[in-house]
């Protein structure tokens, strides 16, 4: 498996720890499935922890965007935590960095949800 996803609750925030590669195939579909399930379960505050993501391609970016919009359409918020330099660069190149609410520290990210 190119990616591992672990979901945990911190208060009323659902944190998804992602590690590995989010690329076309297993990686992107696994992330899509987790975000779809969380949306179906009514999760309104979702924090994607990407600090252990080594690689993301355009398919992975697509899943981040789709997750962001699907959670928002359900009345919730999806935020990002712990971008590596390469992932941050990729989001900046694609002009998505300012679309997402990005945090470096988990505690700060948790508090930012209202």
């Amino acid at each position: 498996m190119s990616v591992k996803l672990n979901t945990r609750k911190v208060g009323d925030v659902t944190v998804v720890d992602v590690s590995g590669k989010i690329t076309l195939g297993e990686g992107s579909s696994a992330l899509r499935d987790v975000l779809r399930d969380l949306t179906a379960q009514g999760a309104k505050k979702v924090l994607l922890n990407l600090s252990d993501v080594s690689y993301i391609d355009s398919s992975g970016i697509g899943e981040l965007v789709s997750g962001f919009t699907s959670v928002a359409n359900a009345g919730g918020t999806l935020k990002l935590l712990g971008l590596t330099k390469r992932v941050k660069d990729l989001l900046q190149i694609t002009k998505l960095y300012t679309v997402f609410d990005v945090h470096e520290e988990e505690a700060h990210a948790i508090r930012s949800f209202v």
Binding site: L24, D57, G62, E63, F68, R86, L90, V99
Partner: protein, 161 residues
């Protein structure tokens, strides 16, 4: 053609291989190009950019070009010479018009799920050229994408051998 043959232009051929139209081929081609880019002297950051460009191009060739058709191949070649590291990726699909690809940075497209591959190739390489591989009017002309990264004086280990 072997991996080390030198063509008439003086460029050193580092890779020339056919891949089946599978997602596994995307990983294999990226790994082979990373090896070739290492031979050409690129550092880790540049190899990462080159690898990402090749990944995006291979995905387009396998998924959109050849549509996972196992009877179709994707040809990948790489050579270093004349100050450039040149990669060519050719599929056997219907082809597409570059000017019809939506700008992924346009505000109306920012939140689209897909459509960033060609843009990322341009962002990570110094030049990207797209042309029909076969004659105009044929049903499946295929697409040849040329990805070019300039070799800096510090690079070019393979070129100067």
């Amino acid at each position: 053609m072997t991996d080390t043959e030198t063509v008439e232009t003086g460029a050193k051929v580092l890779l020339d291989r056919q891949y089946p139209s599978t997602l596994e081929s995307v990983d294999h081609a990226e790994a082979e190009i990373l090896r070739a880019a290492g031979e050409a002297g690129f550092d880790e950051d540049e190899r990462h950019r080159i690898g990402m460009a090749v990944r995006e191009c291979m995905v387009n060739a396998v998924v959109h070009g050849n549509r996972y058709n196992r009877n179709k191949q994707v040809r990948v070649s790489a050579e270093a010479g004349e100050g450039r590291f040149t990669i060519r990726i050719t599929d056997q699909g219907e082809g597409f018009e570059v000017h019809e690809v939506p700008d992924p940075l346009h505000e109306t497209n920012l939140l689209r799920h897909s459509g960033r591959g060609l843009f990322l190739m341009g962002a990570f390489m110094d030049d990207v050229k797209v042309r029909k591989a076969g004659p105009d009017g044929s049903a499946m002309p295929g697409t040849e994408v040329t990805l070019i990264k300039n070799l800096t004086p510090r690079d070019g280990a393979a070129e100067n051998e």
